[in-house]
């Protein structure tokens, strides 16, 4: 392991995490594609490295959301039974699934993420259709949160818990397999199934990322899959980048940044798709330069 590569890892993590943070989302989705495409890192190693960094950045931002009273920790722990179980399933399958299928799945996640980013998330306030059985009442999940612009507490109901759990199982599975926070499945689960207000949804989803990633992270750790000299610089860069990004959030216009983000997602998705087929464009371009 040379120091140049360590420095490159550190720099690239700051960059991706700043970009993510400036948009108010985690930059974790970029780590695996960048490491595998440009760093020529094995995808299993990249996934383990990425998991450490998403735990680090989610822990630091979860703290802010908790202080603001936005996180519903009861909803979180209920859903964590499903995300951790999904994560353990993912750990079980990483060694069995062919590497090509991981690249393919990653490409799909990148494309769906780009699709979801095309419109701003909309807030669903009150649930009317809670479902046949009111799990929210049985488990006392209904709550309220202090809304800053409105200047008052907003009450909300939690609906369709079984559907939420099913989607969360998938989110945990993908998180362990690909080393991401899997907002792709968490956003629809929180928004469509549980009908949480958007602020509560993003705070609660962020709170859950740490435990979900820890369930697989602890397995990768005891298995010896985590390379400290790679995971260290990436985790450090991600925490610093998230801090810088959060500052930039209020300074930069979101619209151009969002388009840039979508473009990057599509480009990385395209290369991951090609990687699944065994075609490496980056290497091909480099070869032509000489």
């Amino acid at each position: 392991m040379d120091t140049g590569f360590c420095a490159w890892l550190f720099a690239i993590s700051i960059a991706t995490s700043t970009l993510g943070g400036a948009l108010g989302m985690a930059g974790g989705i970029f780590i695996v594609p960048v490491l595998t495409i440009f760093g020529k890192v094995n995808i299993h190693t990249a996934v383990a490295v990425s998991l450490v960094s998403i735990i680090a950045s989610s822990s630091s931002s979860a703290s802010q959301f908790l202080k603001g009273g936005l996180t519903n920790i009861r909803v979180a722990i209920v859903l964590e039974t499903a995300t951790t179980l999904g994560a353990v399933t993912g750990v079980l399958l990483t060694g069995i699934l062919p590497v090509q299928s991981l690249f393919l799945l990653f490409a799909l996640v990148l494309f769906v993420s780009a699709w979801q980013m095309r419109v701003k998330p909309h807030g669903v306030i009150a649930a009317t259709d809670i479902g046949a059985r009111d799990w929210g009442r049985t488990l006392s999940l209904h709550s309220s949160y202090p809304d800053q612009p409105l200047g008052r507490d907003v009450f909300y109901h939690v609906g369709r818990v079984p559907l939420g759990l099913t989607l969360m199982y998938g989110a945990g599975f993908i998180s362990a397999l690909l080393g991401i926070g899997s907002g792709v499945l968490k956003i629809p689960a929180m928004d469509m199934a549980l009908r949480l207000p958007i602020k509560v949804a993003s705070a609660t989803s962020n709170f859950m990322i740490g435990v979900t990633a820890a369930a697989s992270g602890v397995a990768y750790l005891v298995r010896g899959d985590i390379d400290p000299l790679m995971a260290g610089p990436v985790a450090l860069g991600s925490v610093l980048g998230a801090l810088i990004g959060a500052r930039l959030l209020t300074l930069i216009s979101g619209e151009k940044l969002r388009l840039f983000f979508i473009t990057v997602l599509i480009l990385l998705g395209a290369q991951m798709l090609l990687s699944a087929l065994g075609i490496d464009l980056v290497a091909a371009v480099k070869k032509h330069d000489f």
Binding site: N72, I77, E80, T84, V99, R223, I226, P228, L236
Partner: protein, 116 residues
């Protein structure tokens, strides 16, 4: 009036402090470890102390969320909220299952290391 709502202000404040403090502790250990590793690599060509410190930081990061689930369990026990005690224990059991799985399985990493 707020007693039937899913809010635990005291626990949430504690969790915020623990997560924040833990992140800084882990970040500091990793930063320090990397600096030491850099010096060691330049002087001796290999790193032991630095690498170990980075590993401690990473382990701390991974155990931080597990620790916060344990803290939640303590609060649910204190509140005699047995329904949520069971749910929280279930989460801890699943995580322990993951760790056990890590001991007895291997990743694809070792036999597929030439894929990239």
């Amino acid at each position: 009036m707020t007693s039937d709502l899913a809010r635990h202000p005291q626990l949430q404040r504690l969790l915020a402090k623990v997560l924040n403090g833990g992140t800084w502790l882990g970040t500091t250990a990793i930063a320090l470890g990397l600096v030491i590793a850099l010096i060691e690599l330049q002087q001796a060509g290999l790193t032991t102390t630095g690498k170990r410190l980075v590993t401690i930081g990473i382990t701390l990061f991974i155990f931080l969320p597990i620790f916060r689930v344990m803290l939640m369990l303590i609060f649910f026990i204190r509140d005699r909220d047995y329904q949520f005690c069971i749910i929280t224990i279930l989460v801890l059991v699943i995580i322990a299952m993951g760790a056990t799985l890590g001991i007895y399985t291997t990743s694809g990493m070792h036999h597929l290391s030439f894929m990239n």
